[in-house]
Amino acid sequence: MAENSKQTMNDTYETTGIPLLKDSKLSVRNVDVFYGDKQAIFDVNLDIGKNQVISMIGPSGCGKSTFLRCLNRMNDTIDICNVTGEIKLEDQNIYDRSIDVVELRARVGMVFQKPNPFPKSIYENVAYGARIHGLTDNKLELDELVESSLKRCGLWKEVKERLLEPATGLSGGQQQRLCIARAIAVNPEVILMDEPCSALDPIATATVEELIHELSQNFTICIVTHSMQQAARVSQRTAYFHLGKLIEVNDTSVVFTNPKHQLTEEYITGRIG
């Protein structure tokens, strides 16, 4: 492929690849994000398919986390952060006035980079979402929900004897799976994961990756990752961000074997860190 046939970066740009889909769970249109005066995300357009895993890659500081946090409005918690544009979750603009973030976050769950279980018991961690959203009617239902959520995360066998012990006593990998169990206990439609394995050792990482793979049967998952191998293993589509711009989106296999944009190629071949 000739070097000059690839697009280079301009101020007005168009995302390379296939950013838009016919049938999407989340659709992002013309989204800009500002921290005060500084723009962190530039005019992003992207569709995210139902029950798909999409991974976001790109150099540090390119705005992956910022973009991900737009999808469940976690950016609302940062005073200086300002989001413009339109993000639709099944035809409903999540930035609409009529939308309550509490409801939105029950539909779009999140798993963070550093495992952050509440300093409460394992049981309370998983039960928390159901409790605050009033999802169960009695203790029995709640017990069942906790059990099934832990089972889906492959954690049940490891913790069933110690449900009432503090979650902070678990290993890093177990804590991260507990956070995933906590997120899926409220049965969200979308799960956002911001570098969920970056604080884990390789074995724990493999377990979590397997889990993500299984969860993709029932959930739409957006995962930010630093590891291209991980993106290749768990996701069907990959989005490459560079300096706040969405450079290229395509099927994961295409992005990694046949990138269309020069920046993408430089990144995946290791020329941009």
């Binding site: 509490v102 769950g109 952050n116 605050i132 959203h133 956070c179 906590r182 409220v186």
Partner: protein, 427 residues
């Protein structure tokens, strides 16, 4: 190379010397601090331990109708008017028939507390059946006798020596009582069961302790909720703008305002403007609330800040509202720090004197306060009052009261430390 080695050796030597010097500065400072504390404690304890015992004298009293001018049918009013003074004096005189000189007789009465006749009357009022009987009583000795018997009795006085405020006749009398086994020292319960009194032997700190507790209760009930609410609002909800910055600066300034100024403020606002009574725990508590608020707010904010942001994100990410996030996660984690700050604030308030003088909590009050609107005094003010009294026996009372105040302070501060250790969670 050689040059480098010698230079290194030189700097190393200098560095080691500096390190040793620094360690010695540290040790000296610690030693100085410990010495000061030890000096303070030995001084106070050596002066004050005597106040925890009290001298009593046994005496046999016959409550006879004739001397009192009562009959078996007398009413309570009659008893109140009866001459217990004569009864007491006759009883004492009868024990020393050889003493006829009036002045020397007065010395005899003066062995006992001046309230002795009143104690006899109160005894009859409590239990009229003692009338007409003979009772074996133990009566508190006068403060001068008490001081002498506790501290100087049995020492060689030399020729015609006088100790403190006792004269040779009193010394002989005490010796005689001692030989008869009628004078003895007991644990001083009066100190803990009485209010203030002009007579040192009858003065106690119960009134001051209750006054302090009532005042602190008011302070706690007001300052804890207000401070915690303020801290939470400023940390978690308030927008960061000029106004909140201004408020923040002012809270920090408030913590540095001399407490006497809060007293003046309290006088102007609560007493002169709102017309609340003087000298009462309610106003004292209000003033101390103003004083402790900044302390508790600042420590509460620090402990809220110390809650990791990841916990907040986790809660918000689960769809918790901001209030739920605070109530379920931030507050439980910040609570130990908040409680510690509160206890330290309360300990400060307990030892505070100046602002309370401003609002008149310095009055001489005998009655133990029963409500926050009763006139009262507090421990540090009681210490101040006693330290100002001329009677020698008040010197040891003052030190004893300081010991009790220190005991409360040490108790509160160790509770704070214990609480912090106990409730501290790791994440």
């Amino acid at each position: 190379m050689n040059d480098k080695a010698t230079r290194l050796a030189q700097t190393l030597k200098r560095r080691h010397a500096a390190e040793r010097r620094f360690q010695w500065y540290g040790r000296l400072s610690v030693a100085f601090g410990v010495a000061c504390v030890l000096f303070l404690f030995t001084d106070i304890i050596s002066k004050g331990y005597g106040a925890f015992t009290q001298t009593y004298i046994d005496i046999e009293v016959t409550f006879d109708y004739e001397t009192l001018g009562l009959t078996p049918d007398s009413t309570e009013t009659d008893v109140k008017a009866a001459s217990f003074n004569s009864l007491f004096r006759n009883t004492v005189r009868a024990q020393y028939p050889e003493v006829t000189d009036r002045r020397k007789q007065r010395t005899l009465y003066g062995l006992y507390t001046t309230d002795a006749p009143i104690m006899l009357r109160d005894m009859v009022l409590r239990d009229p059946s003692v009338l007409g009987t003979t009772q074996q009583l133990t009566i508190v000795a006068d403060d001068d006798i008490d001081t002498y018997y506790k501290h100087s009795f049995g020492q060689d006085l030399g020729e015609g020596g006088v100790i403190g405020r006792v004269n040779p006749q009193q010394i002989a009398l005490v010796q005689q009582l001692h030989d008869q086994g009628r004078i003895h020292k007991k644990f001083n319960t009066i100190l803990f069961t009485n209010g203030d009194s002009r007579d040192p032997e009858l003065a106690g700190i119960k009134g001051a302790i209750i006054g302090s507790l009532l005042t602190l209760l008011v302070t706690l009930m007001l300052s804890f909720p207000i401070a915690v609410a303020t801290a939470i609002y400023l940390e978690e909800f308030a927008p960061k703008n000029r106004l909140t910055e201004f408020i923040e600066v002012n809270i920090n300034n408030l913590a540095a305002v001399p407490s006497v100024i809060f007293g003046l403020l309290g006088l102007a606002i609560f007493i002169n403007f709102f017309g609340l009574p003087r000298s009462v725990p309610l106003v004292g508590g209000l003033v101390l609330t103003l004083m402790t608020l900044p302390t508790i707010i600042i420590s509460s904010r620090a402990s809220i800040k110390a809650v990791p942001p990841s916990i907040r994100e986790a809660a918000l990410g689960m769809g918790a509202s901001k209030v739920q996030m605070v109530m379920h996660h931030v507050l439980p984690l910040a609570m130990p720090g908040m409680l510690t700050g509160t206890i330290i604030g309360m300990a400060q308030a307990l030892g505070e004197t100046a602002p309370l003088l401003m609002i008149g909590m310095v009055a001489f009050i005998v009655e133990t306060p029963a409500a926050i609107t009763d006139a009262a005094t507090v421990l540090p003010v009681q210490i101040y009052l006693w330290a100002d009294s001329p009677e020698r026996a008040f010197v040891e009372k003052t030190s004893a009261a300081i010991m009790i105040l220190l005991a409360f302070l040490i108790f509160m501060n160790s509770t704070a430390v214990w609480l912090r250790k106990r409730l501290e969670r790791r994440w």
